[in-house]
């Protein structure tokens, strides 16, 4: 009798710890940021499409588009997209290396996380420096 009762009650199953339980670590940050920057770049892709559409509309619409992107808010958006792009690019390559089956051990994964962050920052600064020098700002 007791055995049939026990069989009816669902057994406590081991649960995966929720996000709040995990100790924050750098590989977790890179994983979450890859997704977040991907969503940001989705918006960036739509801005890119808007560029092409405005160009086909003629000089006036194109001028409005360039004016919007050149405004302070537009520059903030472009700066965010630059960081997102270089981060997503570097971490995407990191993912491709994982897909080959390499770089999975913790030390390498932690080290490549730092490389990805450093590359994203350095490349973004470099591109904006080039933009400033070539009169693109």
């Amino acid at each position: 009798m007791a055995m049939t009762e026990a069989a009816k009650v669902p057994r406590e199953r081991p649960m995966s710890p929720h996000l709040s339980i995990w100790r924050w670590h750098i590989t977790m940050a890179t994983s979450i940021l890859h997704r977040a920057t991907g969503v940001a770049l989705y918006v960036g892709g739509l801005i890119g499409a808007a560029w092409a559409i405005s160009l086909a509309q003629g000089p006036e619409t194109y001028g409005t588009f360039k004016h919007l992107l050149g405004s302070p808010l537009g520059k903030v958006v472009m700066a965010g997209l630059t960081l997102s792009f270089f981060y997503h690019l570097a971490n995407g390559i990191r993912h491709l290396v994982w897909d080959v089956g390499k770089g999975f051990d913790i030390r390498t994964a932690n080290a490549t996380s730092i490389v990805v962050f450093a590359f994203a920052a350095a490349a973004s600064v470099a591109v904006w420096a080039i933009a400033a020098m070539t009169g693109a700002l």
Binding site: V39, G45, L46, A52, L55, G58, G92
Partner: protein, 129 residues
């Protein structure tokens, strides 16, 4: 609960759909193609930002630039669609909402991508005002 079905009977028909590997590989190939294309795109943006409308038309009228731009747009929107699809599937568990968002994602990427490609070709082929 005792089941009289054999393990083989229970497993039958529950296997993979047999197209997972091809889908997985195509996502990676798209991502690899985007590495050089997006880097080229960054220099394109720098160039375009420094110039006016006339410079942009001249730039996109170059067959190489127009071709790379079309490839960049098509593969980017394909990659964007695949990426946001996974995000929606991970976080939205109500079937109707999930289906609606998946369709919206597909339609937004399809429409924006098609508009961008048509616009690039229109300007590149000299149809601009």
């Amino acid at each position: 609960m005792v089941s009289y079905r054999t393990p083989l009977s229970r497993a039958r028909g529950l296997g993979s759909a047999q197209h997972g590997v091809g889908h997985w590989i195509s996502e990676r190939v798209g991502a690899i193609a985007l590495v050089p294309l997006t880097l080229w795109g960054v220099f394109g943006v720098l160039r375009l930002a420094a110039g006016d409308y006339g410079a942009a038309v001249a730039w996109i009228s170059d067959p190489l630039n127009a071709t790379l731009m079309v490839l960049l747009v098509v593969i980017s929107f394909w990659h964007m669609h695949a990426g946001l699809r996974v995000v929606i599937e991970d976080y939205i568990h109500v079937t109707l909402n999930k289906s609606a968002l998946l369709i919206l994602n597909l339609f937004v990427c399809g429409l924006a991508g098609a508009l961008a490609v048509f616009s690039i070709l229109k300007v590149a082929l000299g149809g601009a005002v």
